[in-house]
């Protein structure tokens, strides 16, 4: 894999990449082909950003977050500052390519930060060291000082996108269930955090069990299931105000496993009545309850295709859990899972190309991906209990719950990329489960 050659090939494209919606640039030449196993991570350097006035307390932190984002993908390897030949003391000074070449840094990110009051401005440039040219134009982000980590994530997203040709995913959040107490007296509450575990906030108290929160495609709302009424019911929370209300529910029924449609208002979910669980949709604006499946088996865990035309879900109509796809309006589903074992919790990739799922086989749990026709199944993980994948906004990484066995087997969040590499635990303050990734933040 010759990164420098690839980087050079990208130059023309990258000139306009700064403002372009990079998530759409899937057809461009790939610099790091994420599917095909990177042999050697790309060496890069991120010197501390230059303080251009009042930004001193952020200058190092921003560079550290950028470095952690990139190195955390497993595709990049940071060269430590102790190896640097030259220092970057001015954002606009000419970069000494030969000094970076000498330490084999293929990419260098330089930046500057300026802060005044609660406002902060962050600038960065990305350089392709071996071709001796900038990779794309410099970019500038402005916001509040509180959002300095978000700006660092945006810098890293831009660098990642320019080098890999993929959309970024660092400036994103994860909603999850924070767990405390022993397994037989579990207290659960909703938490939200940056994708890397920073900036945790809690959205509910622990008075009721909450499970499986899900972001709306626009990131403004969260659906979740709560036992607040004593019975499982779907709630809709506004992320900005944290106000929450239950969706309409027929007495004597249980509703759970909600997900939004791409329209941000239709919800697909499971409704149980008299012991039988089927899939329904509802308009969060009110009314419009529609039944999409009608079978004596369990139909649950529905997830829309990104274009909203189809729904993938699990059903045990064949005797065990398997994955099916049907039209968004319902109708006869087509089974796509075919291997041994049980398949559940299917989630459609935001790119549309893959379905992530949980597989149970021979006493082990796996997170896996398959194409939407069920072909090319690939198991990414294996453990005592892995479940509930959620996609990164760029469709290249999934996060999921891993729980150990026995009284001490606490649940934790892990991420892995779709080639099965780079398995990592996501740091959380407490044991955690049921992650759901937000879209890329605006």
């Amino acid at each position: 894999m010759s990164l420098s050659r690839h980087l050079a090939a990208l130059l023309a494209l990258a000139l306009t990449a700064a403002a372009a919606p990079v998530a759409q640039a899937q057809t461009g030449p790939l610099r790091i082909e994420i599917n095909d196993g990177v042999i050697e991570p790309l060496p890069f350097a991120v010197p501390d950003f230059v303080d251009e006035g009042g930004g001193g307390e952020y200058a190092q932190g921003i560079a550290r977050v950028v470095a952690a984002d990139l190195a955390g993908t497993g595709l990049f390897r940071e060269i430590p500052a102790s190896a640097y030949v030259s220092r970057v003391t001015s954002f606009d000074a000419t970069i000494a390519y030969e000094d970076w070449r000498a330490i084999n840094a293929q990419a260098v990110i330089t930046g500057a930060v300026q802060a005044s009051g609660d406002r902060i401005v962050v600038k960065f440039r990305l350089f392709d060291v071996f071709s001796g040219q900038p990779l794309g134009e410099g970019l500038q982000f402005a916001g509040t000082t509180q959002s300095w980590r978000r700006m660092a994530h945006k810098v890293a997203d831009a660098a990642y996108s320019r080098i890999t040709g993929e959309g970024g995913y660092f400036d994103s959040r994860v909603v999850f269930v924070a767990e405390t107490g022993p397994k037989n007296q579990r207290a659960k509450r909703l938490g939200i955090m940056d994708y890397d575990g920073a900036n945790v906030a809690y959205l509910t108290d622990s008075a009721s069990i909450v499970i499986a929160p899900r972001f709306s495609p626009d990131g403004n709302s969260i659906l979740y299931t709560s036992y607040q009424s004593g019975f499982p019911q779907i709630y809709l929370m506004d992320v900005a105000t944290l106000s929450s209300r239950p969706l309409e529910q027929t007495p004597g029924t249980m509703t759970f496993a909600p997900r939004f449609a791409p329209d941000n208002r239709t919800v697909v979910f499971s409704l149980e009545q008299g012991g039988n669980t089927d899939i329904y949709t509802l308009d969060t604006g009110g009314g419009g309850l529609r039944q999409l499946t009608d079978a004596p088996s369990i139909e649950t865990a529905p997830s829309y295709s990104p274009d909203g035309s189809r729904i993938v879900f699990e059903s045990d109509r064949s005797g065990g859990q398997q994955i099916y796809i049907m039209n968004a309006a319902g109708g006869e589903p087509v089974r796509i899972s075919a291997g041994a074992g049980r398949y559940g919790t299917p989630v459609w990739s935001p790119r549309g190309d893959l379905i992530a799922f949980t597989k149970q086989n021979r006493g082990r749990f796996h997170i896996g991906v398959m194409r939407t026709d069920g072909s090319e199944e690939r198991l990414l993980t294996a453990s005592f209990l892995d479940e509930g994948p959620t996609w990164a906004p760029n469709g290249r990484v999934v996060m999921f719950t891993r729980q150990g066995a026995g009284a001490d087997g606490q649940p934790a969040l892990y991420s892995v990329d779709i080639s099965g590499r780079n398995l990592r635990q996501v740091p959380t303050e407490t044991p955690a489960s049921d992650p759901a990734w937000s879209p890329l933040l605006p």
Partner: protein, 173 residues
Amino acid sequence: MRLAPQAMLLVATLALAACNNPDRYGAAGGPGGPGGAGGIGTTGLGGPNDPSSVAYFQQTLGDRVFFAVDESSLSDQARQTLIGQAQWLAQNPDYAIIIEGHADEQGTREYNLALGARRASAVQDFLISQGVAPNRMRTVSYGKERPVEVCSSEECYSRNRRAVTVLSQGAGA
């Protein structure tokens, strides 16, 4: 599964403190507890030898039935337990019940919720067949959210795959 008198008092106290909400049974959900004591009124629980007492229902008759892996069909033993429950409910018409369905941890969260509902419903259907009025019953599934045993072996799993009949007084439909 016998409880010491002290434990029964604790359960009674917690039940009194709880509102009519099956999720809020707190510590009463621990091993040996009723697995869900919410909604019990202010009447004393009595002793397991008093046939009209809650303790008799929970311990002597048995407030729970168990299921095979990924199954919701009732065993002969489960049917016997439920026949006893139905007779007790016929003699104690002031009580309504909430049937809690539970699953062990081997399974995905959503599926286990649906499976717990199947189990609760199987108990409800059987109790209806034994003459318990449908409007005295509600079901709720906890999936794998509320195990009573925490080990990860069949010994514990078999006790977590359960449906628990929780008494509530005067709740009705």
